[in-house]
Point group: none
Chain length 194, copies 4
DNA sequence: TATGAATGAGCGTTCATTCAT
DNA sequence: AATGAATGAACGCTCATTCAT
């Protein structure tokens, strides 16, 4: 039963992602998500508190996976410098290879109300903490500037990458996002290095 | 008469800014804006095509002023390096000194629909072009790296500052944003310098 | 379930007829119709596309019944002359015996917009085609003039009866409409007979 | 001054006719009529009580002229039969030669509310009385049936002609309305003659 | 007389959520 | 657990009319 419950929960999350990606946030009615998931409207409310809860779950589930990948990749990196490089590579390539997810997280879900944005903030915070860890490691290793303001810099890195992805999407994905990894990392490392 | 017309237009724009800042984008009903401006609902439509037109105007008017200040300040800078410094200082201090504006531009208006977001995008684009100009100037001056990818870097700079401001707001403005200018500029210039 | 759905559909159509008859076309708000039908406003839209769709349905449903009665009565008539007589009798008596329907079809629904009027026109067209058939039959039977312009005459008959009904309504129904059948038919037949 | 007043009054009536003919009843806003007439919105209310008053005036003024023409033509007719013929000829030809007027009176103004329809009814009543006079004359002359129900028949004649005109308009005026005079009169006279 | 900026009442429709089955 | 018919609150916009100038 628990696994079945999980299954339907996942079914609805996937359906929500697909519907938002296809029709946009403002056309992602609960009934549409239910239809896409192959369940009745009312069934949604057996698994989610309300509509917002679905959207938060989409973000948490999908970005959770992404952040998991960061974690393992980063912890395996021999140096902080390499960790920064891998982080950016994963950030760009994962979103480039999953356009619907990119579209939903970068564009659509940002049109949501404050409560959802706070929830999204929590997920993003996890990622930002991860960046911070890498920065601290770099300082400790001696490869990054000892006077680095890690609290500030973690935001600058995240904001920079985030904007790079959003611009790539809005431009219509006319160029390769992965090709921007080198330029981005070069800029970051010069700013970070001791 | 023209000045009176201008007055009422401005009155409504200011009212909209205030209402969105106080009640949030999704609670900024036209009737509420009208009430705040001290005019009848119908009067709004003598000055604006529709609700969206009000919001776009808020953005354009308010950010227009801001970008104007960037322009003059940057063109007067003796060096590209100094231009970057001034740009970041204005970006942070202007928003820090106008919290409602910061709140509306960073948080509330991003919840809007696609058409408004496109309009906002146009204003932001102006700013990003300005950043690009500074970068080119720095390369020409020889103070910035000759191999700098200006198309990419302008986004990284904008995204980094944008995120710094948003985080400061969401944190509840518990610290000084202006105090972050030095750290930000230090990071940028190391990444840019030849 | 199907019958229940039918029931609610009919409930709303009847409510609309009653509301329009009582309050007039311009005061027949959707919320009023919903209230009269004993359903929520939103329920209306489970059965009708929009307000206009309700009104068209009122016309179609109600006049559809009427025209059905014409059909059977006319086809059973032994002669075209008798068909004309029955047609007029049904036309007058049915509307005389259903004043709300008469009021709505003759007065209120004619105040509607073009799209609805077109829809109404389609229903009326059916009736006019029926008249035409009777006229052709009379010509074939030899009882009506062989040189009769059926395309024109069908309009004259319909217009004449329509005006007789409307005048009777506007006069406040101070006289019997059924009593006018003889005079009307007499006039028609003299105009038609060979 | 009186003539000037009359002038502006006429100006507005003509403008209203034109606007309704061009844009339809539901798009004939007061401000549009004012613009067409070359006066300010407020000026309208110096000459008319309200919007309805304008529309009633359009009908009264324009149909008044028409009925005046009926009057003279009919009174000059040597026989009642000829009067019927002339009446129908004028009815059809005047409207055929003034399509905007036909369109406004037959289609657009009928979408109006009850009060206006009552006012229109008054104008039409004048016409119907005229028809009645002709019928009485025919009976007195002995050319029309002595048992003719004039109260009823006047409606039948008016309704028949009215429908003929409306159908011609709705059909897109693909045929000549004047060509229908003979068929119409033939039908009428057979119905009327002793 | 004439203006036209300002008014504000009025309404069709959507959709997240509920609940009887 | 699952259904889906029913709910009803919420809101942008139009336009006839007014009135200060």
């Amino acid at each position: 039963m628990t696994s079945k419950k999980k299954e339907k929960y996942q079914l609805i999350v996937e359906a929500a992602l697909k519907v938002i990606a296809e029709h946009g946030y403002h056309n992602a009615q609960v009934s549409r998500i239910a239809k896409e998931a192959g369940v009745a409207d009312g069934t949604i409310y057996l698994y989610f508190k309300n509509k917002e809860d679905i959207l938060i779950s989409v973000f948490r589930e999908k970005l959770g996976e992404l952040i998991g990948r960061f974690h393992s990749s980063i912890s395996e990196s021999p140096t902080a410098e390499e960790a920064i490089r891998r982080m950016c590579r994963i950030h760009y390539s994962e979103l480039e290879n999953n356009v619907p997810l990119a579209y939903v997280t970068q564009i659509e879900l940002r049109q949501s109300n404050l409560e959802l944005r706070h929830a999204i903030g929590d997920v993003v915070k996890t990622y930002i903490h991860l960046i911070e860890q890498v920065l601290r490691r770099g300082v400790e290793e001696g490869s990054f500037r000892p006077d680095l303001d890690v609290k500030l810099t973690r935001l600058l890195l995240f904001g920079a990458m985030d904007e790079a992805v959003t611009s790539w999407l809005i431009s219509g994905r006319k160029y390769s996002l992965s090709d921007q990894v080198e330029g981005t990392v070069e800029f970051f490392l010069r700013g970070l290095k001791a």
